[in-house]
Every structure is written in structure tokens, then in C-alpha cells.
């Protein structure tokens, strides 16, 4: 699942820095914006079957690739 998430992220952000630096701040560095955020949620729902609402998590919770993986994995376990 971790692989799939990173694949989705790379496709959306069009930047393979998410592989090389999985703790990079995505929003602060302009790698991800509001549009990408929405795209990410759609991809996670359609590809992994996990629904996360836009207001459910804060930008803080999804700030880095690792944080995103954590959140999605913990949802998968629920």
C-alpha cells in the first residue's frame, strides 16, 4: 500500500522528490496545492477504496509523504 500511495503522490505532484525525501513539507515547498490535495483524496478513494473527506484532516496531518502514508494506513486498518 505504501508503494501505491507514493505512486499516486508522484503522479499528482509531478515531482519524484517525494521518493527521495519522504519528510519534505509538501505545501510549504509548493509541491502540493489545494487542487493537488483534492486530486489526492479522489485517487486514494478510487484506487485504495479509502474515503477521507476534505475537512476531515488538516493540512498539518498531510504535510509530508510519510504523514500521508500514516494517515491512509491507519484509515485502512479501521
Amino acid at each position: 500500500m505504501k508503494e501505491k500511495i507514493l505512486e499516486i503522490l508522484e503522479k499528482i505532484c509531478e515531482d519524484d522528490i517525494i521518493y527521495s525525501d519522504p519528510d519534505i513539507e509538501l505545501f510549504e515547498n509548493g509541491i502540493m496545492d489545494s487542487l493537488n490535495f483534492a486530486e489526492l483524496l479522489v485517487e486514494i478513494e478510487e484506487n485504495l477504496g479509502i474515503f477521507i473527506a476534505p475537512s476531515e484532516v488538516t493540512r498539518e496531518d498531510l504535510a509530508t509523504p510519510n504523514k500521508i502514508i500514516d494517515i491512509v494506513q491507519s484509515r485502512a486498518e479501521q
Binding site: L35, F37, A38, A53, P54, S55
Partner: protein, 367 residues
């Protein structure tokens, strides 16, 4: 119920009596509004638990929740004031957020007293900031240690004092200048008016917000901020992360994001950029109308929608942007352009822009 909860509840009740005493029409509309909102919230929660994710119930509940506001705004031009009480615009956001998060499955229970306190919390009743129910709930239920609470009170007092200076000193000093500049229609005067109005609006609104947030902190409710140095914004996207943040973020989370997600799922547009541009335009136009059904506000919304759409297209397509955007020189130029665009937006918002150009279009279109 803890002492703090009691204090919040009682102070809100006292506030409501104070603002509606003598205004019996307003009071009746307000009570009708409260009944509708509570009914929609608890009613939909029940239906959601019983029937699950049914979209039709969700839409019905959401429509009911925003109906009073829509009636209020659209009856204005007809000199009939339905649900006309100050604060309806802001409370509706909080109520709608609850319906949407019940649908999402994020909110699974509602408590009447807590809901009352959240929706009608007296410091933010009239003009926000727009809090979120789950965040409010955390603070409502929080057991403060003595030190934590004293810290909160200290922060609250600081914010109130800052707000008082902003609103009753700085904004108050600018106000007479506006009155004087308004009379002249020359280009220089318009530029000065735009800047003056923008700065005035900031100190007035940021001041008011700071007081409201400060009072919240006195009660242990860490109300979200509305402003974060908006006049250092480098571009329009940055601006909306700094100006009236609680409104901007509400629209982002509950309108923009969802519109984009629907566009993508239903494949309404072929390109990402079209999705983004359309979403920004729709989002900001609605934000404009929310301020009021007046040409000035609608134009303001559409203007910012076009600016954001334009910014998106520029940032994604321009070679100039890709090459230089991290450079200091670029940032300074971008800041300067953004400032002027923002101030022009405020000229529109103030009503002065349409006032000044009225003779020109009236002549051509025989209005």
C-alpha cells in the same frame, strides 16, 4: 457541566437577550432560524444513522440549512427582510459545516447544549471568525490546568488590547481620510482611496476579529485566526491564505475541494487547469454573493475568481514563473503586483469603483 461550560452558555444567552431586547421582529426571525437549524442538524443526524449515505436526505438537509440565509440575502433588494438579523451569514456556515460532516461520517453525534454554544458563541456571533465544530468541541470539553488557563487568559487579553488599538485607533484615524478622498474622482484620488480603504478595512476587521478571538481565549476557546500579515502576500493564492482566513478555508474545504473532486470523478473537464480555473471562479463568485446581493460584492467575487484562475494558469504554464519564482527579485515584483491587484479589489468592494464608473456605462447603456 463544568464551570467554564456554564459560563460560555450563560454569557451567550445573556448576549442574545441583550441584542434582541426591543427588536421583537428580529428575535422572532432568530428563533425561527434556530429551530430550523437545530431541526436540520438533529434530523439529518438521525436519518444518516438510520439510512446511511443517502444523497437526497443530505441535499434536503443542506438546502434547509442554507435556506434562511438565501431568503435573507435575496429578499434584501426587495425591501422585505426575511430572517434579517446580524450574524446569520456566519452562523449558517457553522451549521452547514455540521451537515456536511455528518454526511461524510466525520460527525457521529451531537449534543444540544454544545451545539447551541458552538453555533451562537457570543464573541463570534456577529462577524466570525468561523470556527469548526470538532475544534470547538475539543476546547469546550478540555480540562484546563490552572497554568494553561491563565496562559489562555493572558493571550486573550493581549488579543483584545491589540484589537482595540487596531479598530478604535488605527481604523478610526483612517476613516475621515476616506470621507475626504471619496469626493474626488481623479485617478490619483482613486488610487489613494483604494489603498486607504484596504488598510482601513484590515485594521477594522482584523481589530474586530482580534477582540472576538481574545474574548474566546478568555473562555478557553481558542478561536481560529482571521488574518496573518496579508499585506506581505506574494501572490493571490498567498493572499487568500492570509486574509479572512476562516472564511477562505471554509470555502476551500467545503466548496472548492468538493467541486474539484466532483469534476475529477465525473470527468467534466479534460484538463486539470480548466478544473482549477473553473473551481476558483465558482468558489470566489459564491463568496462574493455571500457578502450580499449587490453588484459591488458580486463583481468583487468574480474579480478574485478571475485573479486566482489567472494565477493558476500562470504558475502552471509560464516559463518565466518556472524559471524565476524562487528568486528574490521575482518575489518583490510579484508582491508589488499582488498588492495593487488586492487594493483594486478593495476599491470594488467599497462600492466606490462602480460609483465612479457609473456615469460612463449609464451614458452608453442608458440606465
Amino acid at each position: 457541566m463544568g464551570v467554564r461550560k456554564l459560563l460560555i452558555f450563560l454569557s451567550t444567552v445573556v448576549y442574545l437577550f441583550w441584542i434582541f431586547w426591543g427588536n421583537w421582529t428580529g428575535a422572532v426571525w432568530f428563533i425561527a432560524f434556530c429551530i430550523i437549524e437545530f431541526f436540520a442538524a438533529f434530523g439529518y443526524l438521525y436519518l444518516r444513522k438510520k439510512y446511511g449515505h443517502k444523497v437526497s436526505w443530505y441535499r434536503a438537509a443542506l438546502v434547509l440549512t442554507i435556506l434562511p440565509l438565501v431568503l435573507c440575502k435575496f429578499s434584501g433588494p426587495f425591501s422585505v427582510s426575511l430572517f434579517g438579523f446580524l450574524g446569520i451569514s456566519y452562523i449558517t456556515f457553522r451549521a452547514a459545516q455540521i451537515i456536511i460532516e455528518i454526511y461524510d461520517g466525520v460527525i457521529k453525534e451531537l449534543k444540544p447544549v454544545e451545539l447551541f454554544a458552538f453555533l451562537l458563541f457570543f464573541p463570534t456571533f456577529e462577524s466570525g471568525p468561523i470556527d469548526r465544530s470538532r475544534r470547538f468541541s475539543e476546547d469546550w470539553n478540555k480540562r484546563y490546568t490552572k497554568k494553561e488557563y491563565l496562559d489562555s487568559v493572558g493571550t486573550g487579553i493581549e488579543k483584545i488590547l491589540l484589537g482595540l488599538v487596531y479598530k478604535f485607533v488605527l481604523a478610526a484615524l483612517l476613516y475621515p481620510a476616506l470621507g475626504a478622498l471619496e469626493k474626488e474622482y481623479g485617478l490619483l484620488y482613486l488610487v489613494l482611496y483604494a489603498y486607504c480603504y484596504g488598510i482601513y478595512l484590515f485594521f477594522d476587521f482584523a481589530g474586530f476579529s482580534s477582540i472576538a478571538i481574545g474574548i474566546g481565549y478568555l473562555l478557553g476557546i481558542r478561536v481560529p485566526e482571521n488574518f496573518n500579515k496579508p499585506f506581505i502576500s506574494i501572490d493571490m493564492k498567498d493572499f487568500w491564505n492570509r486574509w479572512h482566513m476562516s472564511l477562505s478555508y471554509w470555502f476551500r474545504d467545503f466548496l472548492f475541494s468538493r467541486f474539484v473532486m466532483t469534476c475529477i470523478k465525473k470527468k467534466w473537464f479534460s484538463s486539470r487547469i480548466t478544473v482549477a480555473a473553473t473551481a476558483y471562479l465558482v468558489n470566489m463568485s459564491i463568496m462574493g454573493i455571500w457578502h450580499g446581493v449587490k453588484a459591488d460584492y458580486i463583481l468583487y467575487g468574480v474579480y478574485h475568481g478571475l485573479l486566482l484562475a489567472g494565477t493558476e494558469i500562470f504558475q502552471k504554464k509560464s516559463k518565466l514563473y518556472k524559471k524565476y519564482h524562487k528568486k528574490r527579485g521575482y518575489k518583490i515584483c510579484s508582491w508589488f503586483i499582488t498588492m495593487n491587484l488586492v487594493m483594486f479589489g478593495f476599491l470594488i468592494f467599497s462600492g466606490h469603483f462602480l460609483e465612479v464608473i457609473e456615469p460612463y456605462y449609464a451614458k452608453n447603456w442608458r440606465i
